[in-house]
């Protein structure tokens, strides 16, 4: 009987140093699949390797042997003693393995719940397994179900809603103010990873012209080239406020770069169009009093962090719904998996009886040499229909759904009764 087995380690069980050692590149993954395919105990196999997890998913008829071969193979391939990573490994089989795959793909098991990359990574891993022909009936079915579940979790729960990074949170807020970011002009003051990332998000949302102001003008020009924007001098900022809608500030300045009166002064010539300040700098660049002005909004780094914390809490609440969807899917998959077991049992039963009948008939025909070829054929046909008639009811019994969950038990009994497991 085949079993689905999952063996692996992730960010919860292994420190990053160990995950680094065991991570497989795409080329390595191909080699590993080819290697593992040769193991006699492994029927189907695929390998998922991301920065947060390394997992091997396989089907086998002998769990212990299969698991040992994977461990040994990995240790030889990566030249790390088994003892070094054995502690971090977890092993799931049957229903638990299925559940684990579903949860991972739905991003319920991720470091940041709801992050969308993992599904793509699993799709890639599956594609590799298909190309190397290491996946078969069971893994194909399992993975298709997995993609379906992951999609359902994403669309039916709020698990992927709302930003969990500073720059995304800022963009989401901008959308709550402006609705559509298309054509909105942006001013970037200073530089920094987070600020630049935010500008990139804005560009992707088809924001309008990008202005870049920097203490050293040359650096500003450099940055503005990257965003196809326009560099301005620090002194030009007050004038620029008349034009731009979103200001992202991240300078090392000890004082405010923009103060209340500057903004108050331009609101009239802006015709009160809203203006949104995103202050990522510490100490702050934007006078917080600006938030008190009509139609102007200021968010500093702490405000954005507060927003993110709320969003993370939200995602965790939503993940409960995701778990329920996974549970449903596990049950329906198990149902299919168990029904699959019936088929090999029936086939084995038929083969056994067939071979007994065939050998007995041919032995008898040996001693009856006066029979013509036609007569022999008739006897063979009669044997076939006898087998069919005899096996008809047992086959129906095993296939039908009336066994009320006890099907595995009946299959087990059938196998023992006819001694099919040799």
């Amino acid at each position: 009987m085949l079993d689905i087995v999952l063996l692996g380690l992730n960010h919860k069980t292994a420190p990053v140093e160990l995950r680094e050692l065991l991570a497989f590149s795409k080329e390595e993954a191909v080699a590993v699949l080819e290697g593992l395919q040769k193991c006699p105990d492994i029927n189907e196999v695929m390998l998922i390797s991301t920065c947060n997890r390394v997992e091997v998913l396989l089907t086998t008829s002998n769990i212990t042997n299969a698991v040992n071969s994977v461990k040994t193979y990995t240790s030889e391939f990566k030249k790390i003693p088994i003892s070094k990573f054995e502690q971090a490994l977890y092993m799931h089989d049957g229903e638990e393995a299925v559940r684990h795959v579903f949860r991972v793909a739905s991003s319920l098991d991720s470091m940041m719940v709801g992050e969308p990359q993992i599904l793509g990574q699993i799709k890639d891993a599956y594609l590799t397994a298909i190309l190397k022909k290491t996946s078969g009936v069971i893994l194909n079915r399992l993975l298709h179900k997995t993609f379906f579940v992951a999609k359902r979790v994403r669309s039916e729960t709020g698990i992927g809603d709302h930003a969990v990074s500073i720059s995304y949170a800022a963009i989401e807020l901008a959308k709550k103010i402006f609705g559509n970011l298309e054509g909105k002009k942006v001013l970037l003051i200073g530089a920094g990873e987070m600020a630049e990332l935010a500008v990139e998000h804005l560009v992707r949302n088809r924001a309008g012209e990008i202005f870049v102001a920097n203490r050293t003008f040359e650096r500003g020009v450099e940055l503005s080239n990257r965003f196809k924007g326009k560099a301005i001098r620090i002194e030009e900022i007050p004038d620029c406020l008349k034009l731009v809608d979103i200001i992202i500030s991240s300078t090392g300045s000890p004082n405010f770069v923009i103060v209340r009166d500057q903004v108050k002064g331009v609101m009239r010539s802006r015709r009160n169009r809203p203006i949104f300040f995103i202050d990522i700098a510490v100490p702050r660049d934007i006078d917080p009093d600006i938030n008190r002005l009509n139609n102007s909004y200021v968010y500093d780094i702490d405000d954005l962090k507060g927003v993110i914390e709320e969003n993370i809490k939200d995602r965790n609440r939503e993940s409960i719904k995701g778990e329920r969807i996974v549970d449903e899917a596990v049950i329906s998959f198990q149902h299919w998996f168990e029904s699959l077991d019936v088929v090999p049992t029936i086939v084995a039963l038929r083969n056994k009886i067939d071979s007994i009948a065939k050998s007995e008939v041919s032995r008898t025909l040996h001693s009856l040499e006066h029979l013509s070829d036609n007569d022999c054929q008739a006897i063979y046909r009669m044997t076939d229909s006898l087998i069919n008639k005899i096996l008809h009811d047992p086959t129906l019994f095993l296939k039908k759904n009336g066994c009320h969950g006890g099907r595995s038990a009946y299959i087990d009994l059938t196998r023992k009764l006819f001694k099919l497991d040799d």
Partner: protein
């Protein structure tokens, strides 16, 4: 007759339930259910008005009951068109219960028609009444959008992103939608007042008779005119525009009810209890 009103109320209440369920559960089909139930109620409401019209041969605004039925009808109708254009989903929790409440009131007040003096039922009167009601319904929606704008702005300014922040649309959309409502309302009110003046000239021989309703309608008109003027010249938008829409709504309610109950005039009979 009564039964049609009851059906109208029933549909409006169901629509309200649908919109509130949408507010909490955020399932799209609930929003659609609310919308279609509102349309069903609106059709019943139209049938009720049409029936009265056939019976009396006049546009049915002869007592508070009939007037309120038309108020409910215009709120629902204007909202249906508005929703179709802007798809501002959450807004149903304002319009649907409002229409329902107005209709419940309508069904509670007596429907005895008052004695009508000096009424000539002609094109100008029908035009006057219809455009005034549509205009006022638009202002009512604008007021609701004003409240939503203030709520959303408050959430963004104070950085407390609660239940409504997630569900309310962007400030820009609320502002634009409110502005559209006011432009439509102002246009209809202007047409309504103009046709009213023409009608007054035809029936009473003078355009303006310093009737309190006329005076307050004039004040309402001036208020919205000022709001639009400020928006177009110096760009009054956002918070100020929202507050003005709410003030406008208050003045409008006074013009509609307060004037009739507290002051006298030739519109009084139509909305007296």
């Amino acid at each position: 007759m009564e039964i049609v009103i009851i059906f109208t109320i029933f549909f409006y209440l169901m629509s309200t339930a649908g919109y509130f369920a949408y507010l909490f559960l955020q399932k799209n089909y609930l929003n659609r259910a609310g919308y279609f139930l509102l349309i069903a109620g609106f059709l019943c409401n139209s049938a009720a008005i049409f029936y009265s019209f056939l019976k009396s041969g006049q546009i049915p605004v002869h007592n508070l009951h009939e007037t309120l039925v038309i108020v409910g009808w215009s709120i629902a109708g204007v909202f249906i068109i508005f929703q179709y254009k802007f798809n501002l989903r959450i807004f149903g929790i304002y319009a649907a219960p409002l229409a329902a409440i107005v209709m419940v009131f309508a069904s509670q007040v007596s429907s005895e028609p008052v004695q009508i003096k000096n009424i000539v039922n002609n094109f100008w009167l029908i035009f006057h009444i219809i455009s005034i009601f549509i205009g006022e319904a638009s202002f009512v929606l604008a007021g609701g959008l004003g409240f939503m704008y203030l709520a959303q702005e408050h959430a963004i300014k104070t950085k407390k992103h609660g239940f409504f922040f997630r569900r309310l649309p962007s400030l820009e959309l609320l502002d634009t939608a409110g502005y559209t409502c006011i432009v439509v309302g102002f246009t209809m009110l202007t047409i309504g007042l103009a046709t009213g003046l023409v009608y007054a000239k035809m029936v009473w021989g003078k355009f303006w008779s310093w009737d309190p309703k006329e005076v307050w309608s004039g004040i309402t008109w001036l208020l919205y005119a000022a709001l639009l003027h400020e928006r177009l010249t110096v760009g009054w938008r956002g918070r100020k525009a929202a507050i003005m829409a709410i003030v406008g709504l208050a003045v409008l309610l006074f013009t509609f009810f307060g004037v009739n109950f507290l002051l006298k005039g030739h519109h009084g009979e139509f909305t007296r209890l």
